[in-house]
């Protein structure tokens, strides 16, 4: 069976500090990977997606970046956090080449002060 992990679960960071959120998937190979953000009172915003190692596509311009150093590892980063980066960050995976289900991780609650 497949599982998806995210850490940390919660994070409080000062403005201007760096960020690294990690997501790993087990039990599948070559998944499509996604980073989403939910800001308070808003829907899900797709930030990045990846169809393979080192292949990252950005949906919105901002001070965040993503990397996929290994097949089942997806990292969300920032060099300097903004207040507006606060939110709930969700990682998801899906079978490549399929319109089947996306599976979500438990999420990371980020608060930037």
């Amino acid at each position: 069976s497949q599982t998806i992990h995210q850490w940390p679960a919660t994070l409080v960071q000062p403005v201007g500090s760096p960020l690294s959120l990690e997501c790993t998937v087990e039990g599948t190979s070559n998944p499509n990977l996604y980073w989403y953000r939910q800001a308070a009172g808003r829907g899900l915003q797709l930030l990045f997606y990846s169809v393979g190692i080192g292949q990252i596509s950005s949906e919105v311009p901002q001070n965040l970046s993503a990397s996929r150093p290994q097949d089942r590892q997806f990292i969300l980063s920032s060099k300097k956090l903004l207040l507006s980066d606060s939110g709930f960050y969700l990682c998801a995976w899906k079978l490549a080449g399929s319109t089947d289900t996306q599976y979500f991780g438990p999420g990371t609650r980020l608060t930037v002060l």
């Binding site: 499509n32 808003r42 829907g43 996306q102 979500f104 999420g107």
Partner: protein
């Protein structure tokens, strides 16, 4: 281009009464459609999905949805609401293609009144 519209941002029902959460989509291709539920500070959990098989789809926790191509709708229903159903619900469409673009609705918050 594809889009998903959840017609109600908030729905309030009494416990034991029916639930209807509305979702309309637009897509140039045959879509796959999903409903997810999210409880506060939790990840999204799949409720049910439609992937071109039976148009009436049954999911977990007594929920079901009917794909109506003529109305481009995929409304979520449940005959009798339970307190534990209070959560936010997202309608999602995925279309085939090189990337299988995923589009989320803006969500509907369901309140269940005892």
């Amino acid at each position: 281009a594809q889009s998903v519209t959840q017609l109600d941002s908030h729905v309030s029902v009494s416990e034991g009464t029916p639930v209807l959460l509305r979702c309309n989509y637009s897509s140039s291709y045959s879509p796959s459609l999903f409903w997810y539920v999210q409880h506060p500070n939790k990840g999204l959990q799949l409720l049910l999905k439609y992937t071109s098989a039976a148009t009436l789809v049954k999911g977990i926790n007594g929920f079901e949805a009917e794909f109506k191509k003529s109305e481009t709708s995929f409304h979520l229903t449940k005959p009798s609401a339970h307190m534990s159903d209070a959560a936010e619900y997202f309608c999602v469409v995925i279309i085939p293609g090189g990337y299988q673009k995923v589009t989320f609705g803006t969500g509907t918050k369901l309140q269940v009144i005892p």
